[in-house]
């Protein structure tokens, strides 16, 4: 498979992964090298998110995570939501000061990220007042600000229309590091990722370069 690639930064060896007490995935073996763009696909409920979370646990310090739901605080501004990517780097007192009055130094850091995501006009708007696509971009902004060499995304475009989905996907993949994402859309997976892992019946069904994925294989995966 990927034995030719140098230095896996993430690897699992025949692991069973359980989720809230019961085994969700069996006998998972995979390794991901630096710079790879990997999509995880499969029917809903098959354990894509569970696998992604397990991968996150392997490298929590180097990873940034883009959540599907619940991660944004809709009552806070875009600025603060993005800033939350680095809470643990500063003292609580520093964070509290920045909550009450955004510090110029942090605004300087975050503004370019917001510009990249076309959120510069919304920097101090309440996140809850933004559209679904804009909110998803705030989530990506947080992951970008968090930094690290691995970006993980859980269904980052599931609530968006196709056009917006492509924009967001391009942003995520273009973050320029190792990217691992669960996805609903096979088309987007093929378009943006160079390796696709298909999950079926609690285990890995295939793990192939994107161009080798055939229609029959997909039919069997989702069948």
């Amino acid at each position: 498979m990927n034995m030719s690639l140098p230095q896996p930064i993430i690897s699992l060896n025949g692991e069973d992964i359980s989720y809230s007490g019961s085994v969700a995935l069996r006998d998972i073996s995979l390794s991901i090298a630096e710079g790879e763009k990997v999509a995880l696909i499969g029917r809903s409920g098959v354990g894509k998110t569970t696998l992604l979370r397990r991968l996150y646990q392997l490298r929590p310090k180097e990873s940034a995570f883009v959540h599907q739901h619940y991660s944004l605080v809709s009552q806070l501004s875009v600025f603060h939501n993005i800033y939350m990517g680095r809470l643990d780097r500063y003292s609580s007192l520093h964070n509290l000061r920045n909550l009450l009055r955004p510090m110029p130094s942090h605004i300087e850091e975050i503004r370019p990220i917001a510009e990249k995501l076309s959120l510069q006009d919304k920097l101090f708007s309440k996140t809850g007042e933004l559209s679904g696509g804009q909110q998803q971009r705030v989530g990506i902004g947080r992951a970008l600000y968090c930094g690290g060499s691995i970006l993980m995304a859980d269904e980052p475009v599931s609530s968006l229309d196709l056009l917006q989905g492509k924009e967001i996907m391009a942003l995520i993949v273009g973050a320029g590091k190792t990217v691992i994402s669960t996805l609903h859309s096979v088309d987007l997976s093929r378009q943006f990722f160079d390796r696709i892992i298909g999950l079926r019946e609690k285990t890995i069904f295939f793990d192939l370069p994107a161009h080798q994925i055939s229609g029959d294989l997909l039919a069997e995966l989702y069948g």
Binding site: R53, F65, H67, V73, L87, D88, S92, N95, L96
Partner: protein
């Protein structure tokens, strides 16, 4: 929201400067030590008449609530009428203790007085909440019935089954409140557990007082086992049979109360001195009489009641914000949250009146004991509720590991709106209690009402009670307005478990 919060903080700060806050007792810590000693050495065996007091506490609450359910339910059916709504707002704006004050001269200090004192304000509460529950319930099943289905059938087949659980939860929560009301009615002489508590505290018998308090906690804890719809009929029947109903109710007495005792004094003065019960209309003197009441009692009473309410409200808020994290699994382990829950449940179970009484014994009369009692009790309730809400919150798994970061960035922004809604719900409750705590010797409205009653000036007492009720209704309206303008609501969560 932030601006509203700061405004209230500012008002409370100003009120704090204007309020009388001091410790006047000679050696508060000595008495505190004795109390603490009493708490660890409860004496369950030297309480004469205690069984009867416990029975009365339960039976007043049970019969009062039963009456309130029936009356409240009927009233709730007519709640669209402005008259009914105002009537209900008025009767629930008058505290149980004030209702007892009103009934004392009419029917005497007996079971009926206690039961009515609970039944009337609770009927007003039930009418409002039952009708709200009905209005907010899912109407679609009722609309889907065949045309021509009678209103009665519609109610029993669709509406009632849908709202039953909400009704039940709210009613059983209110039963717990009624037990607290019943207990504190003892402090003004009715034969409930509060009567013995007052005696024990006044005479410094803290071991007995502790035993009474512990029994009260046990009573509240035991509710879940017997206060159930299927079982409640038995205690209810027992209460009807074993309550002492021997009240000497005379129609003449009642008539006299309404047609003579509560008339403004100037109308009765001439006849009184002449030895007859003649009434004369004296417009000028009546205006003077009213002015006297307003200037010497109502205005200072209102001023102090508002000061106390605003300070206590903000202290309740601060206490809640500090105290809910320890009771919350998002911040602490199960061990810590378990302990925090016990503390919060104890605070919620102890009526603020009793807390205020204890602190007054310790520190002497000033607003300090009242403030602390109010924020401990109300803050205990709100912290418990807020913690429960936050436990339901889903935080991202990669959230900050530091508690303070999670508190200020993740949890507080998310729960603040609902917290404020809870708080504004309690505003009116805190004001009712602030007025009542005057009976204990601080100069809120209750103090002036209590003095008027002891001076046998029923006319004056009634005017002051009505003023207190209007003040409460005003705060209730204001609280609703603020909640609406901030778009926050607490719905059933707040009601059925606050």
């Amino acid at each position: 929201m932030l601006r509203t919060s700061l405004l209230f903080l500012l008002i409370a700060g100003a009120a704090f400067l204007a309020a009388d806050i001091s410790i006047t007792t000679f050696d508060p810590w000595f008495e505190l030590k004795r109390m603490a000693l009493g708490l660890v050495t409860p004496d369950f065996f030297s309480l004469p008449g205690f069984g009867r007091a416990l029975f009365n506490t339960i039976s007043f609450a049970l019969l009062g609530i039963a009456g309130a359910i029936v009356a409240g339910f009927v009233l709730s059916l007519f709640f669209e009428s402005t008259l009914v709504r105002l009537f209900c707002a008025f009767i629930r704006a008058i505290h149980e203790l004030f209702w007892a004050f009103i009934f004392m001269p009419i029917i005497g200090l007996n079971s009926l007085c206690g039961i009515l004192a609970i039944a009337i304000p609770y009927a007003g509460v039930f009418a409002k909440v039952y009708s709200e529950i009905r209005q907010e319930s899912d109407q679609r099943p009722a609309q889907a019935l065949p045309a021509g289905t009678s209103r009665l059938n519609t109610f029993f087949y669709t509406t009632l089954p849908i709202i039953y659980k909400d009704l039940k939860n709210y009613t059983s929560y209110r039963f717990e409140c009624a037990l607290r009301s019943s207990a504190i009615l003892g402090f003004i002489g009715l034969p409930t557990i509060g009567y013995h508590l007052e005696t024990a505290f006044r005479e410094g018998m803290y071991s007995q007082a502790a035993a009474l308090l512990y029994c009260f906690y046990l009573l509240i804890l035991s509710l879940r086992f017997w206060a159930r719809p299927r079982l409640i009929l038995l205690p209810l029947i027992l209460a009807v049979f074993f309550t002492s109903w021997d009240a000497s109710i005379s129609l003449a007495n009642i008539l006299r109360f309404f047609t003579y005792d509560i008339l403004p004094w100037p109308m009765r003065a001439e006849g009184f001195y002449a030895g007859s019960q003649a009434i004369s209309l004296q417009p000028v003197q009546i205006v003077q009489w009213l002015k006297d009441i307003v200037v010497t009692a109502a205005l200072p009473g209102i001023w102090n009641t508002i000061l106390l309410t605003q300070i206590a409200l903000v202290c309740t808020a601060l206490f809640t914000l500090v105290m809910f994290p320890p009771a919350c699994r998002k911040f602490y382990s199960r061990k810590v949250t378990g302990c925090a829950h016990i503390v919060l449940v104890m605070l919620r179970t102890t009526p603020e009146y009793i807390l205020a009484y204890i602190f007054l014994q310790l520190w002497g009369p000033s607003m300090l004991p009242a403030i602390i009692a109010l924020f401990l009790h109300n803050g205990g309730i709100l912290a418990y509720l807020t913690a429960r809400n936050v436990n339901l919150m889903q935080l991202p798994f990669d959230t900050s590991r530091k508690r303070l970061n999670r508190y200020f960035y993740e949890v507080l922004p998310r729960c603040y709106g609902q917290f404020l809604a809870f708080l504004f719900y309690r505003w009116e409750v805190i004001m009712r209690e602030s007025a009542i705590l005057g009976i204990l010797g601080i100069y809120t409205l209750g103090h002036f009402i209590d003095s008027a009653i002891s001076d046998d000036q029923l006319d004056k007492a009634l005017v002051l009670i009505i003023i207190t009720a209007l003040l409460n209704m005003g705060i209730d309206t204001l609280s609703q307005k603020i909640r609406r303008s901030l778009h926050i609501s607490a719905h059933f969560v707040a009601r059925s478990s606050s």
